[in-house]
């Protein structure tokens, strides 16, 4: 570990903390549907959309209606992308003549992008046409992100409203977020990326002669525009297979820093926005603090493990940290930080191969996802997932002050507990259940390239990534099979919407409740004690379940490495 490495981490967190309030203020304006300076230009566009679609943005929706509209919208988008992928051979902007994608593969990709997972079994540059990339996938990068933030708004309203029957209007939320938040930032962001050297062209391939005189085909395309939303919307699906490790996606140290910042920017802002909506920004800072504790702990372990390197290689005379699978441009610190950021935030973009991390260094990304990606988390998804844990934390410990537990003025009762448990249980159920299936069936066992505990980690990581809607991979797994395409596709769907529906039901249930004013007898949900309680609850309720699987995967792997028995 070097001081430069730590300096990077400190600067990174420092910039984000400075961004938190401005981003939160902007999000809060959108949450309330207030007029922003951008309305001068984009207001007519927004109204035009509503008129075209026949939507009245002022009509409030109950949680059921909100959920149904959100689901229909996502199913429609999924089918749309599925059709494009299947038919891409016959559609325009396909200069390289890419064939259509097989049903299982197309299902997997469409689900993957709809659910903000962006798990990629394929290599973008050799499988997808520009049309598929731009229309089929980039559209999801915007809309799945907007959906996530809209859902977070819906839950915020549940906490903030009093005796209300509705939690907002899904269409209005989605449109405003896309139009006033994602698009404007992405326009500027893309221009910056182009300036930094990221290609933005409809040319799919360029033939080049290398210095050795060999002929090489270099893939390119409209990368900059997809790259911006890939990060900002915590999507993570790369245009190119190598993702942000590729110089065309992530050319230099500055783009690398900005990409990491953009993964977390909205997530940080949403915590502040939450505090504002419930009338006490300290509530938001408390949540952010708990997230930061978990995040920094993760960064420390990964950076420490990666910098320490592999003792077996040290004995062979290869000194220094673990550089396998890392870009020399970024080095150990920036790669470790990126890996923890991308898995903490449900992004899934990678600038290094997680599979090649040391066992414990790679366990942190895995564990981050298993916790439910509540450490900052995906845009919207992170905060609503976190609030589910907050509900349980308040419930378990809240009774200890001798009152019916309440959080930000809302009593937490049977219905909320039931729904929160339902939403949180889906993660271990699908991750462990599907991993178990894959680790006994021949079709599943055919996937991992490594034997022993590392192979197990690869399977575990794949399902964890899918259910957590992360999308990154321990890439040493052949996942483009019917078995994995199908299983992972279903896992992504369950991991996204089987959390969302109970969460929206909680929003509806909370919105209908009376507000309970805070008194000296109320459970304190700001301050270090609460932060510690949150961290403990997340680790015990969210993390302990996975301990057996981690013991058999990364921990056994690690012990083999330090024991010198790793093949």
């Amino acid at each position: 570990m070097t001081w430069q490495g730590w300096a990077l981490i400190v600067v990174f967190v420092g910039i984000l903390l400075a961004l938190t309030k401005p981003m939160g203020l902007w999000l809060h304006a959108l949450y309330e549907g207030r007029r922003t300076p951008l309305h001068v230009v984009l207001g007519p566009v927004e109204r035009g959309f509503y008129k075209l679609a026949g939507i009245d943005p002022t009509v409030e929706q109950s949680w059921r209606r909100y959920a149904v509209h959100m689901l229909l919208f996502n199913v429609a988008l999924l089918l749309f992308t599925y059709a494009i992928l299947r038919l891409q051979a016959f559609l325009p902007l396909n200069a390289s003549g890419m064939p259509g994608i097989a049903p299982d593969g197309a299902f997997n990709i469409a689900t993957s992008f709809t659910t903000n997972t962006n798990w990629q079994w394929y290599s973008g540059e050799v499988a997808l046409s520009n049309l598929s990339q731009m229309l089929g996938l980039t559209i999801h990068n915007f809309l799945s992100a907007a959906t996530g933030i809209a859902l977070a708004f819906a839950l915020f309203r549940g906490f903030a409203r009093r005796e209300a029957g509705s939690i907002g209007n899904f269409w209005a939320d989605c449109t405003r977020i896309t139009l006033y938040l994602l698009l404007p930032i992405c326009v500027i962001y893309s221009v910056y990326l182009i300036a930094a050297g990221v290609p933005q062209t409809l040319t799919q391939q360029v033939a080049a002669t290398t210095m050795e005189g060999a002929r090489q085909t270099i893939s390119m395309g409209p990368i900059a525009s997809q790259e911006a939303i890939k990060m900002l919307g915590t999507n993570g699906g790369g245009f190119l297979n190598a993702n942000s490790a590729h110089p065309f996606e992530n050319p230099d140290a500055l783009t690398n820093l900005i990409q990491m910042l953009s993964i977390f920017a909205i997530g940080f802002g949403l915590t502040w926005c939450f505090g504002k909506t419930v009338g006490n920004t300290k509530q938001g800072w408390a949540i952010l603090s708990a997230m930061l504790v978990l995040f920094l702990a993760g960064v420390t372990v990964t950076y420490w493990q990666e910098a320490a390197g592999n003792p077996i290689l040290h004995q062979l005379g290869v000194a220094g940290g673990n550089m396998e699978g890392k870009e020399v441009r970024f080095g150990v610190a920036a790669s470790s930080l990126f890996a923890v950021v991308t898995t903490a935030a449900s992004c899934g973009a990678v600038n290094a191969m997680h599979d090649s991390f040391t066992a414990l260094g790679g366990m942190i990304p895995l564990f981050n996802i298993q916790l439910g990606e509540v450490v900052v988390g995906g845009v919207g998804a992170g905060i609503y997932g976190f609030l589910l844990f907050a509900i349980l934390a308040v419930f378990v410990a809240g009774l200890m002050v001798g009152r019916t537990p309440e959080y930000v003025g809302k009593k937490i009762e049977g219905r909320e507990v039931k729904l929160a448990v339902l939403a949180i249980a889906i993660l271990p159920l699908v991750i462990l259940g599907f991993t178990a299936i894959a680790s006994v069936l021949p079709a599943g066992l055919a996937g991992p390239l490594n034997k022993g505990p590392h192979g197990f980690s690869e399977i575990l990581y794949a399902f964890t990534s899918a259910v957590g809607n992360n999308g990154s991979a321990f890439a040493g797994i052949t996942s483009g099979t019917q078995f994995y395409n199908g299983m992972l596709g279903v896992a992504m769907w369950l991991g996204r919407f089987f959390v969302i529906v109970p969460m929206l039901a909680i929003a509806g249930s909370l919105a209908a409740k009376k507000y309970t004013p805070e008194t000296a007898g109320s459970f304190p949900t700001t301050g270090p004690l609460w932060v510690g309680l949150l961290v403990g609850t997340i680790l015990i309720l969210g993390g302990l379940t996975f301990l057996p699987s981690l013991a058999l995967g990364p921990i056994a792997d690690h012990l083999a490495m330090i024991g010198g028995t790793l093949s």
Partner: protein, 676 residues
């Protein structure tokens, strides 16, 4: 009623031990899903003892099965013990109820009928020495009644027709005179029946918080079922197999058996504490609500001030000697047997102040009694008329003096008296104003500190009084309540409760009169005084058998204690899991990856002893916590923040650390005596 609170006596423990086996009935067990799962796993392992096929030694498996069954039994035992304590009380209550006969009024006479056959609306005659056969309302007559069977208080109380003292309870004895009582309940639904059902736990329904907690526990159980259920597949990937007995041990230690086993005992014990405190809650929900109270409405008289006002000062108007006033006031009060009247006499005679020596009324004096119409009392002898009463009443009764300078002076004096939190009485002699007597409310000793405590608990206190706002404000300030409602009518009270509730607050109050009934019903916790009317007792959700309104404060504490006990033991139970993982995981996977023994941070002797120690700890912690579950976690009025810090340190941090120590200790014992 028995009020001794000893926990572990043989006459409680033995029946409870028997009951704990009876409670293994699956139909009863399923009410507690976590314990049901535990029992199922124990049953499965019992069967596998005979048909199973694995590498584990039989001795080890037998021990495992034994401890699993013990885990279940400890749970049922905790519940049986809690119920047993109630049953002992119920038995003594039932004895009172047995063999009651009633004299039902029929035509002009009465007929003898079994009390159990009485229906609502029947009228019964109860005479000296009779037990009252059913709950009802006195419609005729006055009697003194010994209610010791219900309240434990042997001093008789008066029950009479009309007013707020008309309710009678089955099982209490008329010790003088007679009353006719209209029965107000049907058989089996009387107060005594409900009380028996409550203390026995038979009618116990799960309270909202208990239901929510059960859901959480079931959820955790499902999550851990998944976590453990997937291990065989993972192990098969690693090329090995884990014996079912070991998986079962991991499952049972991880699921929250500790809190699940104690949950119903905590609830029963909470109700029981209230009963011992002589308060009957009609539902567990009411007890929980008591812990959530934000606003307490307290009647001034009897709660905040001692019941009776005391004369503290004579204020003569200009030109009147204060001694003349004192003597007149004394004469007007000599026949007044109310505490106020007596206090005026005492003040007038007080040594080194006025030293009025008159001790008897003059010959032929005629007492003018207080009536609700005149609101004046006094005395008349010869040509002298002395009047004493509220200022306005005195002025009204003596037309023409209202405009005199003396009247103006009197008004000023009475305003001052009111502002000081005292109640003024005017005294007039033959139509001439002499001055005023100040009656002082005496605020109960220590009540100010109690309100301070309540404030730290986040509870706002509102004093309810019929006094005028000036007096009320002064008393409120002296007593340290947060707010007051002066010149309160029952409608005002109801409106205040609704207003508080509209802001999301939970309100508690107590009352006894029929006109209190709407407010009692509206309040989240309405404590009716046992001496109150039947209507009040029906409207409230608690009844205080001692009729002591101050108890409202303790009731809130008891509600909080119940919730805290539940929360603390849940936290403890969940926090325990960390140590259990560290005990079992390395032991379980030792055959697959021997290197995982580094996770054996406790240094447990062998995989078998590790598993056995974890399961033994998991079982023994239940009886170890039974006393705490039954007694309740101590509540301290120190505010939520410090309380949380304290309990989190004890039950959260303690919950993490204790099992590490406990499992290690058990491991050493198990290894030493060669069990594993």
């Amino acid at each position: 009623m028995a009020r001794t609170a000893s926990l572990f006596t043989a006459d409680l423990l033995l029946p409870a031990a028997g009951d704990s086996f009876r409670k293994l009935d699956p139909r009863q067990l399923i009410r507690n899903p976590v314990m049901f799962v535990t029992a199922c796993v124990a049953a499965l392992l019992t069967v596998l003892l005979f048909v199973g096929n694995d590498t584990l030694s039989l001795g080890f498996k037998v021990q495992l099965v034994l401890w699993l069954w013990l885990t279940v039994l400890f749970g049922t035992f905790a519940e049986a013990l809690a119920e047993g304590r109630g049953k002992a009380q119920a038995a003594s209550l039932r004895a009172t109820k047995a063999d009651l006969t009633a004299k039902r009024v029929k035509g002009s006479g009465t007929e003898s009928i079994a009390a159990g056959a009485l229906k609502m609306g029947d009228v019964v005659l109860v005479e000296t020495g009779d037990l009252i056969p059913a709950d009802g309302e006195v419609i005729e007559g006055v009697a003194s009644v010994n209610e010791a069977a219900i309240t434990g208080e042997s001093a008789p109380v008066i029950r009479e027709a009309g007013g707020d003292r008309s309710a009678v309870t089955a099982g209490t004895r008329v010790i003088s005179d007679w009353v006719r009582v209209r029965v107000t309940v049907n058989p089996g639904q009387g107060f005594l029946d409900r009380m028996i059902a409550l203390v026995e736990g038979a009618e116990r329904q799960k309270t909202p918080n208990e239901i929510a907690l059960t859901i959480l526990l079931v959820g955790l159980t499902i999550i851990f079922l998944i976590a453990v259920g997937t291990i065989p597949a993972f192990a098969s990937y690693a090329g090995g197999a884990i014996p079912i007995a070991i998986l079962a041990a991991l499952l049972i230690t991880l699921i929250p058996t500790t809190i699940a086993a104690l949950l119903s005992a905590i609830g029963i014990a909470g109700m029981d504490r209230l009963v011992r405190f002589n308060v009957l809650a009609k539902s567990g929900r009411a007890v929980e609500a008591a812990g959530d109270i934000d606003t307490l409405l307290l009647d001034k008289t009897g709660t905040i001030t001692v019941g009776d006002r005391q004369a503290s000062e004579f204020r003569a108007v200009t030109g009147v000697n204060v001694l003349e006033l004192a003597e007149a006031a004394l004469l007007a009060s000599l026949a007044d047997e109310t505490p106020e009247g007596r206090s005026i006499v005492a003040l007038a005679r007080a040594r080194d102040r006025f030293e009025v020596t008159t001790t008897e009324l003059p010959e032929g004096a005629e007492v003018v009694p207080f009536t609700a119409q005149t609101r004046i009392s006094g005395v008349k002898f010869g040509a002298t008329l002395i009047q004493k009463g509220a200022v306005d009443s005195i002025l009204k009764a003596n037309p023409g003096i209202g405009d005199t300078p003396a009247a103006a002076e009197l008004r000023r004096a009475t305003d001052e008296i009111a502002r000081a939190g005292m109640t003024p009485l005017a005294v007039a002699k033959n139509g001439r104003i002499l001055g005023a007597v100040a009656l002082k409310d005496v605020v109960k000793a220590g009540i100010r500190e109690r309100f301070g405590e309540l404030r730290r608990m986040g509870i706002r206190t509102v004093m309810i009084t019929g006094d005028n706002p000036l007096t009320a404000a002064a008393i409120a300030a002296e007593a340290g309540v947060d707010d007051f409602l002066a010149q309160a009518t029952p409608e005002d009270k109801l409106a205040l409760i609704r207003r508080e509730q509209a802001c999301g607050k939970l309100v508690a109050m107590c009352g006894d009169g029929t006109n209190d009934a709407p407010a009692l019903a509206q309040a989240d916790v309405g404590v009716a005084m046992n001496t109150g009317t039947q209507a009040a007792r029906e409207a409230g959700n608690m009844v205080d058998l001692d009729s002591d309104p101050t108890k409202l404060i303790e009731i809130v504490g008891l509600g909080k204690q119940l919730l805290m006990t539940r929360g603390s033991l849940t936290t403890f139970s969940v926090a325990n899991d960390i140590a259990k993982y560290f005990a079992i995981i390395p032991a379980m996977f030792a055959v697959l990856y021997p290197g995982l023994s580094v996770l054996n941070v406790m240094g447990l002797a062998s995989p078998q002893s590790a598993i056995l120690s974890a399961i033994i700890f998991n079982a023994l912690i239940i009886p170890a916590l039974v006393p705490l579950a039954l007694k309740g976690v101590k509540y301290r009025p120190i505010g939520a923040g410090p309380l949380l810090r304290r309990n989190l340190a004890i039950f959260g941090l303690g919950g993490v650390i204790v099992p590490f120590i406990g499992i290690k200790a058990i491991d050493m014992i198990v290894t030493t005596i060669g069990l594993a």
